[in-house]
Symmetry: C2
Subunit: 760 residues, 2 copies
């Protein structure tokens, strides 16, 4: 093996295109005759649409079509509940909901035409508070149904007996807020009808095939009449898989006009159009032995879907259950509900409900460790489920690097010293905090399949093309698949090309969700690579007249082990395989579906492997202003094996920043149900001066199910951040913030309350 | 089987797009930042390039690059002989050769810039007459070589003994001229570098993969760094497979500028840029028994390649050998040469050398039949090689419908009556003529492979996508492949979509040459369809719990033969095949390579099947003006089985018109080596008033190697036309025109000579 890059830091294969500005994003596309679309949105959280007059808008020079709910299919769409129409029909359920769409010869005209559309609304009382969603006599978001979109109740073990035995039982409530994904590229789409009357949609996406299915269902088209091509994607974080309406509106306009339609959200529009992360109110009651062992847990969750539930139901499952599997504790009771409100929808976001739960759990453990006089690092280690165990929900934990991750973080941050000797400099108080997390690598709950297919072809120049439907949103999927194929065939990385995901050419795949690509597509790539290697060796045996088991493939050359002068290079071999009797181009296809199984909705081994991470942070709190400054951060990631440490570190660093933003700065704010901070001036993402030099390390546990031991490495790292920061703030100041984000106001107010209490 | 369209007349699947004007041809494409190219061509047939000054052209506002031979790769390109550079280096060898190329922001600027390029030539003596190419002391086209591009000599059987035994030995010389393909869409190309630095070329073509290989070789790129996408193709007739320079210049400009480059030939440029059919001088000496049986044949051919030989060598093989295989005669001697001249290159053209040979052969048989007082129909029938024979060149003739084709034509044209009672109306003399032809269905001479791969995928809506690299230039390849897949899976034709040929997604294939697509891709499609059907039934057996051999697939439904209520539709089954343990999308791949074999360059069974055709025409000759009017034409085609009679008839009618054009009207004329008729005003293709109501019929011999019995049906029908017309003119007037085209001048001159002779 002379060419392998496995385990080496390699630049992503599409980095050059991005850095040189040559990457073509959906917004960069231009098709002849292309029109430009804009969307009119509801200003009200809840209203009846009495009438819409589009006549003035339609008459504006350059306007080609104005559509309303009347022009949209009656079919309701939605990922789980079919509950939404492409344009509102009859009533609007959130401020921002799509009411009408204009397509015009240029973007300015389309925008101008929006002002000419006259919508007559009858305002209706909105339901804005999820806690009121359960009230008997309040507004109902979806008539004929209750406001409960989804609920989960279960008890495993004997929770009450656990509480009874516990040395300490502690209950608290934690609240989390909505975060906007903040990708560099807002959602965008070009939709066009081709000459055969098929719809093609070019868009950034996590999943070309799921998107194709969703487009087809919503537009009442057979899936085969729809083609989805993934354009270069400038970040996604969960929000580029058609929970939102953007591509559907563009596609509807293309269907109605027959012309190519470009719809690119401005940042403001993207804030209004795209779901943000699910706000949850989590009440946790935990029983611990005096040694820190968790022996009972009761969790109540109230999650806010917004007006349409999207993936919130699945997210509720994750919040309610995933973190249970970190621990050896078998006594858990959960009552979780997701409710509708007349607010903008919430949905998928990196971490997928784990982040909310981990803030509560890590805060709670820290609180109880303090009460019991224990080191939280030791409490986490003691509770960590040992490798080889089956968790209470049926997860088969083959590897778990949590203890090593915790040690690595503690060492890196200077834990022992800093816990003992909190440094204080007048009003500036420093503290350290730690937190841990778990994530899946794959997910079997989507329909009893979690597989991926990889097709390979050996070209006449001895290079290989890879056909995969798994999408790269920047996380490095394309690079890691290319690395694996190159490794299996011992090719230079540049000799492996992963073809742009396109439902018309890519192998079928679920896409980049649930941190699944590395493990499932990676294993499929190994299988396909080996299948192609066998074909190569078989053909070489024929051409060279040497037994196949005597042959070796190295650095694009097949040679006889006993006489290396008997050899053939891959390019020559490729041509010799085609141009012969019964010839054909050498191609191979392989599918890998993990041996996971769900016994019911809630019990089963959901993924082939589980990733773990820990994070330690050091903060400095200005007790006069309440400002929190993060001085240091170290994340340790058990991703099994870092196939490309550069991308793992990139993901980890990005996750760290996104977690810091959520914990301290970012919050989608509503005023009377309307988002009030719809740009980056008002929605404050952390800028470089708010972020310390980010540090991180790896714990490579070499999972038996992973390709070369690898597990997923993109979503675990975002989960411990908020808890670690809250714990560090507590360590620094003694105040516990349970309501995210941790703003200066909340800290000052908590400090004041603490002072009052100590005076009392 | 409820959906099959096999044998039924169905509209081509892409007809709607073409008729509605929605088909996207290369010239319709637009890419952001796209530049426009124009080419400066040599005005001299032979000259040394002393200097080129591009400075003024480069300075013109809007010009982005001006390239000359200095900027082109040193690598020489060519299909067989590597002998040409993308832009001329050092000298020019034909008037029209590419000397410099300009790329500018618009086409007008590029054209203006051409006028500012100063080329200083030193004119050299040109070789313009192929007969002088063999002279000892004449100009040499490619220094260091002789002017002979290719030659073939062979003798089979005992030719001299045959002549000795013959009742009649007759020798004559026939000359043929160059025909321009006259497609509606001139050659065109858009070339662009993608973000990864790969070159993509969108162009009409016969073969995406051969074109990719040729582009890569000429541009010194690995094949994997080149992508070729076939755009909708407006006719090709042999001239859209990179014998010409158009796409290479566009690609070189894209490589040099990094911008997308569009290069669309005007009709004038296309005449200058694209090879025309190979002019041949054929001397035929034939020995016949008194009963019309051919027992010896000697053929000498001198073919003119023009300045670069392209595919002329292969064409020479066809002219020299193919028609021998029509007959039972085993005594043949051939001496054939293709020579270079300083004239525009010649190359592939529908019929591929068969047309030239069949004009000579059919004229010659008609002459000898007349001398022997025999009916040429009977002579053709008597000589026709019987099914089950192996021809003198090793062709295994499994089916041969020639006798039936001849009978069909003779009946249709009213042969017996009209031969006996030639109708004369003053100076208007009528006559009938007949001719026969043979063609291959496939061709093994390209490198011992003649196969095709078809990949299929069953989508979640129960519809099927087909991935094939075989190209449709209008002949109906896409439709016939879709019909076969639909037949095998019993789907409505609209549920089968053939994905646009694209080297980045299509299965590897040689392309649409040698009338091979129906037979090789058709057989591959049957295999792939059956493989997918087996997978479908296997999955249905699993889902329904019924033994696979109890199941039947009909009209998108799989059901139990014993209890049809136990069933599952294809859409549901497709989803159930993906979303399950070890699931995957149902895909199937199959390759079919005919069991043909070449023992050496000249001997072997070159194709899995052979097509035959005959044509009878009735003409009226105005003996005062020499004008020939075709009154009736009937072509009978033994294509084995007409899978879609509508496209077979379409091909036959098109071939008939193209043959009439070649025989009577079309001729690429040279003046001092320059083409003098470069537009449709001067190059007179037959218009509708020159063409009779075209009639044709089928002889379905059901070839054992053909898909459902089918053989190729696109190139046989062009071959008998010129001979049939010449024979009819002879029948009408008594004058024999052996030098094509049959112009009024030649007829008047021959009539005058005949009159003089009879007076003498």
């Amino acid at each position: 093996m002379t060419n392998s890059t496995i385990g080496h830091e390699v630049a992503q294969v599409n980095a050059r295109a991005k850095v040189l500005g040559k990457a073509v994003y959906a917004g960069d596309m231009f098709l002849p005759g292309m029109l430009h679309a804009k969307i009119l949105r509801s200003p009200y959280p809840h209203a009846r649409i009495k009438a819409i007059d589009v006549s003035a808008a339609s008459r504006l020079h350059g306007v080609r079509a104005v559509l309303t709910g009347e022009d949209a299919p009656r079919t309701r769409w939605g990922i789980l509940h079919k509950e939404r129409t492409i344009l509102a029909q009859g009533c609007v359920r959130f401020a921002g909901e799509e009411v009408a769409a204009v397509v015009a010869e240029d973007e300015e005209t389309a925008r101008d035409a929006l002002d000419l559309i006259q919508v007559s609304y009858e305002e209706l009382p909105p339901l804005l508070d999820p806690q009121q969603a359960l009230a008997e006599d309040g507004p109902i978001v979806h008539p004929g149904r209750t406001n409960i979109a989804h609920e989960i109740q279960f008890e495993r073990g004997d929770v009450d007996a656990g509480f009874h035995r516990a040395a300490l039982v502690h209950e608290q409530t934690y609240t989390t807020h909505a975060q906007y994904p903040g990708y560099m590229e807002p959602n965008a789409c070009v939709a066009a009808m081709d000459a055969e009357g098929r719809l093609t949609v070019w868009a950034p996406t996590h999943s070309i095939f799921l998107m194709r299915g969703r487009l087809a269902a919503a537009l009442e088209l057979p899936a085969s009449r729809v083609r989805v091509v993934q354009t270069m994607t400038g970040g996604a974080f969960g929000q580029k898989m058609l929970e939102d309406d953007t591509c559907l509106v563009a596609a509807l306009l293309a269907l109605k006009t027959g012309a190519p339609v470009r719809l690119v959200n401005s940042r403001l529009e993207d804030f209004l159009a795209c779901p943000t992360s699910v706000p949850e109110r989590i009440t946790m009651k935990m029983g611990m032995r005096a040694d820190g062992m968790i022996i009972a847990k009761e969790v109540r969750i109230l999650a806010d879907c917004g007006a349409y539930c999207g993936l919130s139901n699945q997210i509720l499952h994750v919040s309610a259950m995933r973190s249970d599997n970190m621990h050896a504790n078998g006594n858990v009771r959960v009552d979780a509900k997701a409710v509708y409100t007349h607010t903008p929808p919430h949905g998928a976001f990196r971490g997928f409900g784990g982040t909310q739960a981990q803030f509560a759990l890590n805060s709670h453990i820290d609180e109880m460790a303090a009460m019991l006089g224990l080191d939280p690092v030791e409490v986490h280690k003691k509770n960590a489920i040992p490798p080889g165990s089956t968790s209470l929900h049926g997860w088969e934990i083959l590897t778990n690097g949590t203890p090593q991750c915790l040690d690595q973080c503690a060492d890196a941050i200077g834990w022992r010293d800093k816990r003992q000797n909190g440094k204080q400099d007048g009003p500036f108080k420093r503290g350290v905090g730690i937190a841990a997390a778990i994530h899946v690598s794959g997910n079997r709950t989507m329909g009893n399949w979690d597989g991926s297919t990889i097709n390979l072809r050996l070209n006449e120049d001895g290079r290989v093309q890879v056909f995969s439907g798994e999408c790269d949103m920047g996380q490095g999927a394309t690079t890691v698949i290319a690395q694996i194929v190159a490794h299996e065939l011992d090719l230079p990385l540049s000799h492996v090309q992963v073809v742009q995901p396109d439902t018309d050419s890519s192998a079928y795949a679920i896409g980049a969700i649930g941190s699944r690509v590395t493990i499932v597509a990676g294993n499929a790539a190994i299988r396909a690579g080996r299948a192609l290697r066998e074909k190569v060796l078989g053909q070489a045996a024929r051409v060279l007249g040497v037994a196949q088991d005597q042959l070796e493939l190295r650095d694009s050359l097949v040679f006889s082990r006993t006489d290396p002068d008997i050899n053939i290079d891959l390019a020559t071999l490729s041509r010799a395989s085609i141009w012969r009797e019964d010839g054909e181009v050498l191609q191979a296809s392989a599918t890998w579906d993990p041996k996971t199984v769900m016994h019911d909705d809630l019990y089963g081994n959901v993924a082939p492997a589980y990733s773990f991470a820990a994070q330690a942070v050091e903060v400095e709190v200005d007790t006069e202003t309440g400002r929190v400054r993060i001085l240091d951060s170290f994340i340790s990631d058990d991703c099994g094996k870092a196939l490309n440490p550069l991308t793992v570190h990139g993901q980890t660093n990005g996750a760290a920043v996104q977690a810091m933003g959520w914990a301290l700065y970012e919050e989608v704010k509503l005023e009377h149900g309307r988002i009030s901070n719809v740009d980056f001036a008002d929605y404050t993402m952390p800028s470089i001066d708010a972020i310390p030099m980010l540090r991180n390390g790896l714990v490579e546990t070499l999972d038996p199910n992973g390709p070369y031991g690898a597990k997923g490495a993109s979503e675990t790292a975002i989960q411990p951040g908020a808890g670690a920061i809250a714990n560090a703030v507590f360590h620094a100041t003694g105040v516990r913030i349970r309501d995210l984000p941790i703003t200066p106001e909340k800290i000052l107010s908590a400090l004041a309350a603490m002072k009052e209490e100590s005076h009392a």
